[in-house]
């Protein structure tokens, strides 16, 4: 599922443009599973699944799998709808060089929200939105 991030982010020109000054690699931990996500000028270059021997990353985002599951649901419940909400509840730990994370906070929020089942658009009622599949344009 996490692998879908690459295509969904890269297929959103506005998001890529917003990240044009962002080049970094960060670590995403979903429970015990780790992922290294490499970004070059706003485009996701690779999403690599661990385990890793010596992963290098600028920062890490770590949360239990059930918390990410709620965050990635179609309409996340209160307290699970935003990275800062998870941090407020102390279930998401952001560690490392957080200057990069905070300087590009909108990018990271919107990029990770791409893993929700459908990008709800207010102009289109959810019933008529097609299910977004990995690899499909989001």
């Amino acid at each position: 599922m996490i692998e879908a991030l690459k295509e969904r982010v890269n297929d959103d020109p506005a998001l890529v443009r917003r990240g044009r000054y962002l080049t970094t690699t960060f670590l995403l931990e979903v429970g015990a599973t780790a992922w290294l996500i490499a970004i070059f000028e706003g485009r996701i270059m690779s999403v690599t699944r661990g385990p890793f021997v010596m992963p290098s990353s600028s920062f890490a985002l770590r949360a239990p799998a059930e918390e990410w599951e709620k965050f990635w649901s179609r309409r996340p419940p209160p307290g699970s709808n935003d990275l800062m909400a998870l941090i407020k509840r102390r279930v998401l730990r952001a560690e490392g060089d957080l200057q990069i994370f905070m300087a590009h906070l909108r990018y990271f929020k919107e990029a990770l929200a791409k893993l929700r089942p459908a990008q709800a658009s207010p102009q289109v009622s959810p019933q008529v939105l097609p299910q977004v599949l990995p690899g499909a344009s989001a």
Binding site: G79, M84, A85, I87, A103, L105, R106
Partner: protein
């Protein structure tokens, strides 16, 4: 091309606050019982644009919003460039009472959101006779810091971008896109360090937990309205405040977030209008 004008009229007033001259922007619409509106941290009075444009409110109320010093179209005081802005409960209280006096507002209804909701609790405790009723939106007694506030004001993080991004998730999921991004734009426009300086009051100095139960609603009715999706001042925190204040009334607004009057005015007004009707008796 004919322009459509809103009924809101804005003016600048000059008055002394904290012993220093200030230039304060204030806008108003409607006639009737004064309804004084306090904006959130790092934003400005535009958050109340919908109230000032809704005849269901303005037919019976004079809706007034001022931009706090350093916010919106109000200037920081001369000398600001060598200072760190930091809001305290004493300053905030003095500012509101002084503006009320300067505008000749007699026992207005007060409505404040977030930091405005917090100071509303302070005012309900310390100056209950100065208000006809107090409406606290997203009003909690205290919020612990949950991120490093220094990120809001440092040269290697764009202040406007980070302020907007920090609060973006506080907007409820049902907010119309235009109102959501208008609300965030206000945050993106706040001056360097202003949001952070407001949060000094909100998260550190303005803690009223130990005294909130002393609020006496027999002197001034207190209504607390909070959005379901607010993770800064959660519905649980609002309910806890309400439970400790006899006579207070609490409403949890489903689908709304931290900026109800700005992010989703039609939904918010469904909750506010009955409160205003109750206050007017």
């Amino acid at each position: 091309m004919r322009a459509r004008f809103e009924p809101i009229v804005g003016r600048y007033m000059h008055l002394d606050l904290f012993g220093r001259p200030h230039r304060i922007y204030v806008e108003a619409a409607g006639e009737g019982t004064p309804l004084l509106c306090l904006h959130t941290a790092g934003a400005d009075g535009r958050q109340y644009r919908a109230l000032m444009n809704d005849e269901r409110v303005t037919a019976r109320h004079r809706v007034i919003a001022f931009d706090m010093p350093w916010h919106g179209k109000s200037s920081p005081p001369a000398g600001w460039h060598n200072e760190d802005y930091q809001l305290t409960s004493a300053q905030y209280t003095e500012m509101i009472l002084t503006v009320m006096s300067a505008l000749g507002l007699e026992r207005p209804i007060l409505i404040g959101c977030s930091i405005g909701g917090r100071i509303a609790l302070h005012l309900a405790l310390e100056h209950p006779d100065a208000f006809r009723a107090i409406i606290g939106l997203q009003a909690g007694a205290h919020v612990d810091p949950y991120y490093d506030l220094n990120f809001l004001h440092r040269a290697d993080v764009h202040g406007g971008e980070v302020c907007g991004a920090v609060v973006s998730g506080l907007v409820g999921p049902d907010a119309p896109e235009a109102e959501r991004w208008e609300t965030l734009w206000h945050y993106m426009q706040s001056g360097p360090g202003v949001f952070k300086g407001d949060l000094y009051f909100y998260k550190i100095e303005g803690d009223i937990r130990s005294r909130v139960a002393q609020i006496d609603t027999r002197h001034c009715p207190l209504f607390l309205l909070s959005g379901e999706y607010d993770y800064s001042c959660t519905p649980e925190e609002t309910r806890a405040v309400a439970a400790s204040i006899p006579g207070s009334e609490v409403t949890i607004m489903n689908g709304l977030g931290h900026f109800p009057m700005s992010e989703n005015p039609p939904e918010f007004l469904k909750h506010l209008l009955p409160v205003l009707a109750k206050i007017s008796g």
